[in-house]
């Protein structure tokens, strides 16, 4: 890992709240770092611990479950 490495985040967002919130951030043009990759689920409760581990195994540096 060198200095220019930008940690990449996997975010699980709930369709009804946090995913809607991320859309609202867009409508409001709030700027945030372009290092997060969003995966929409119908509820954050869908996210299994195995999904989080899979994220880390696949090359993400961090995982956010937001709901």
């Amino acid at each position: 890992m060198n200095d220019s490495h930008e940690p990449k985040m996997l975010a699980f967002l709930c369709n009804w709240c946090s995913y809607a919130g991320a859309d609202l951030a867009g409508v409001s043009r709030f700027q945030y770092p372009p290092t997060v990759r969003v995966l929409r689920t119908m509820c954050s409760g869908r996210v299994d611990s195995l999904h989080m581990i899979e994220g880390l195994k696949s090359g993400f540096d961090s995982v956010l479950v937001f709901g």
Binding site: D23, Q31, C43, G59, F60
Partner: protein
Amino acid sequence: MMGNSESKTVTGAVMVVGGGIAGTQAALDAAEQGFYVYLVEKAPSIGGMMAQLDKTFPTNDCSMCILSPKLVESGRHLNIELLTMSEVDRIEGDAGNFSVTVRERPRYVDFEKCIACGICSEKCPRKVDDEFNMGLNKRKAAYVMYPQAVPLKYLIDGENCIYFQKGKCKACEKYCPAGAVDLGQKEKTHTINVGAIILAAGSKVFDPSVLDTYGYGGHPNIVTSLEFERILSASGPFEGHLVRPSDRKECKRIAWLQCVGSRDTHEGSHTYCSGVCCTYAIKEAVIAREHAKDSLDAAIFYMDMRTYGKDFERYYNRAKNEMGVRFIRSRVHSVGPERLGSPDLRIDYVDEKGSVLSETFDLVVLSQGLEAPADIAEMAKRLQIDLDASKFVQTSSLAPVETSRPGIFVCGFVAGPKDIPSSVIDASAASGACAALLSPARGTLTNEKTYPPEDPVVNDAPKVGVFVCHCGLNIASVVDVPAVREYARNLPGVAYVADNLFTCSQDTQKLIREAIKEHGLNRVVVAACTPRTHEPLFQETIREAGINRYLFEMANIRDQDSWVHQNEPEKATQKAKDLLRMAVAKVALLEPLERMRAELNQGALIVGGGVSGMTAALNLAEQGFKTYLLESAGELGGNALKLKHTWKGESVPEFLGGLRERVMSHPLIEVQLHAGIKSIQGFVGQFITTAEVAGVPRQFEHGVVIIASGAEAYKPKEYLYGKSDRVVLWHELEELFEKDPRKLEEAKSVVFIQCVGSREPDRPYCSKICCTASVKEAIELKERKPDLQIYVLYRDLRTYGLREELYTKARSLGIMFIRFPVDEKPVVETVRENGKELLSITVRDHVLDRPVRITADYLKLATAIVPKGEKELAGFLNIPLNQDGFFLEAHMKLRPVEFAVDGIFLCGLAHYPKPLDESIAQAKAAAAKAAGVLSRPYIEVEPVVSSVNKDDCTGCGLCEKACPFGAIRRHEIAGKGLRAESIAASCKGCGVCAAACPQKAIDIVHFRDTQIVAAIRAGGESA
């Protein structure tokens, strides 16, 4: 369907005249409620003025992006017939059975044959001003109004065509590859039978060239607000670059001048307030600053800032405090070139203190007012309906969508100034009024949708089509769209890629269907905006092309990418590629699914028995639906019980008496007083509400819920309220004088203070109704007792729309208006004068710029309208409240009475403070939307639900405990013990059970473990 007892036969079709946002919404709602709709539009395409707007307030949504799905939906709705270039000539017959004669002008292009390739336009040698872009650029005489036009069919403009002028040319005919050009077309006349008519003729922008002050027409850099919308638009004349017309120089200083043609007594102007210009000017200023990356000086010159709608005040505060927009309270004297021949413009104005000042700008935008359509007088004559003094269609506050002729309803700006949400509410309300009139004929003239069989290619190996959207400039100005498209080409399973200016437009839907057929695609990914708004549109498109709806994914590269990484185009492009790769990985593993049907209880439950609740109940009952009306108080009526007159002067007690009588006596309405809701369970089609009614527990089963729970007046601690009998709220003054008329006789002076508790840090919203209410009451007092001194202390006088009449009248009667700033509120004290204890009110007069002291007999406080604290109700239904505690609808612009959760609707003060006419319209709109659900034979259930593998299940019951919806239960299987079972109709597909299952025996259809993991893995790779 439950029938109406009327024996008269009526026609189950509705004609909507005007295809702007109001007309389009009215058409969609009427069709949803089971009526065949003819949508008659004068222009070659529907969309109206909203199609010309760049963004919409207060959410800054791209106007075309939210409008386009509605246009596309009505364009392809099986029960909506578009008649463009058409006008109503004559209406014969009566409510329930009209015969309408419609004239259709020739298009000179065969509708069936035109493939919208645009070659006719390319070859046409005649250039004329493009009206859609307000004449800022040219179009051809063979043209289409705008790229997303519905219907997307070209036309030849006969007035400008060389062939029609000189007898030769016909280039269009010669080059058209489809043989669609038909220059011999003649005007056609249609006779159409309908049961009701909705007039939605829209508005016309005011032409400022009739006023000398503003120099419009004499200088290219003085533009109107609608011209400026086109300048801002990516599909506009300057492709969204913020440049001025004269020299295409980037603008650094822009001024907006408010009330151009509104609130103005000059010849040619209108005295009313156009109602929308304050907020749209703020929007234009904010968006312009966004375009210019903050280097822009944006200044708004205004008289009163009228941001009275839901969330408008916050929008204003944000523009002022965070976005750096300058607001200058002033009167503009003149606008003209800085010096002779200069492209720069000088504005001379007088500020509040009376100083004469001037400033120079690159561009001046005139916030032009709106007026009734040019041909309204003639149209009214043909339709035999009455107009008011301002030439708007005459309506009553108590019947806001009814015209003077029974069976003809009205919505949108043609009935008076209103913004898009109000127009949409009116539109739904008008459709509901038609439905109540025509309910015996519901479903008699409509067609059922049939789809082609699903193509067996769905079972083949994935052949994915990828469509990447530019969204005008919304995506393409940040993300490198062609690079994303090319990247997609090499992803596994991808068989076809394309990019589109607007993937949601009707022509692109056709392109998608064609690509599916031509390339044998069996899965589709759209990289564009958010699936929350656009997924259903694309799902419908692919289903029409024979692909199962669920073989579809979206990559959100706008809301969650280009809009939020505006300064990092490369990284945003990288993110777009990653999101697209994840979507492609998931779509390859998706399975075809079928929607399920669930039972529908055709009853409604309405929470709140005020005017809104009663209006909604009556409308639903008249449509034939059983309705439970629950009111917490001991009588129906709510806040309206305290009202005497509407602002137009209609008697409220008389209206309320009639309404209550009709509600109480209607056989389909069951009124429950003293009702307190204990719980609401279930979902659309099958709700069960438990309530305590007068101390007795009761249970109600119903298919939909309408929330009409109202709001109340704020009780202040300031201004000596509660300490002096002479300080009163709202209706208390009227009651005081009614009880003891001597008090009014003896009074010398009455003061009103506005914005008590509103527009303050604790409650940063405008309560909307208080300015009109106080001005109306002041006039009544002044008329009863002309020597009474009346002072209204205000911050901005917000008598919006036609209510401005009252303000003008009040001033002419001698009522004094004194404006105070929020940081220098009036000071109220008690004084003894001539042995009487009176009030002394000190306020800084804005004209004199010094404090003045007023001795008053009475002080009336116009306090904020506050929500009732409905957290519990919101919790039962899983619906949101906004920051101020009012219910938050699904979309502030286009879904103003609905929630994201199906089957729940909203109206009245529980949504936001509003006057009686707007509450009535919203109640009718909520009823219309509810009827849209109740008039179906069953509920379609999304198949995204849990599925249990019974072989792996050990019956431990963790899923049953985890499920918040009671949608998973264990039951005994002989010889095996307990096993879990999913109840699809109750399941919301959240997946909590799947995450809870230690055996991994539960999976969620459409969000299966394998599908999620594929997307995770694809996201983890680097592109």
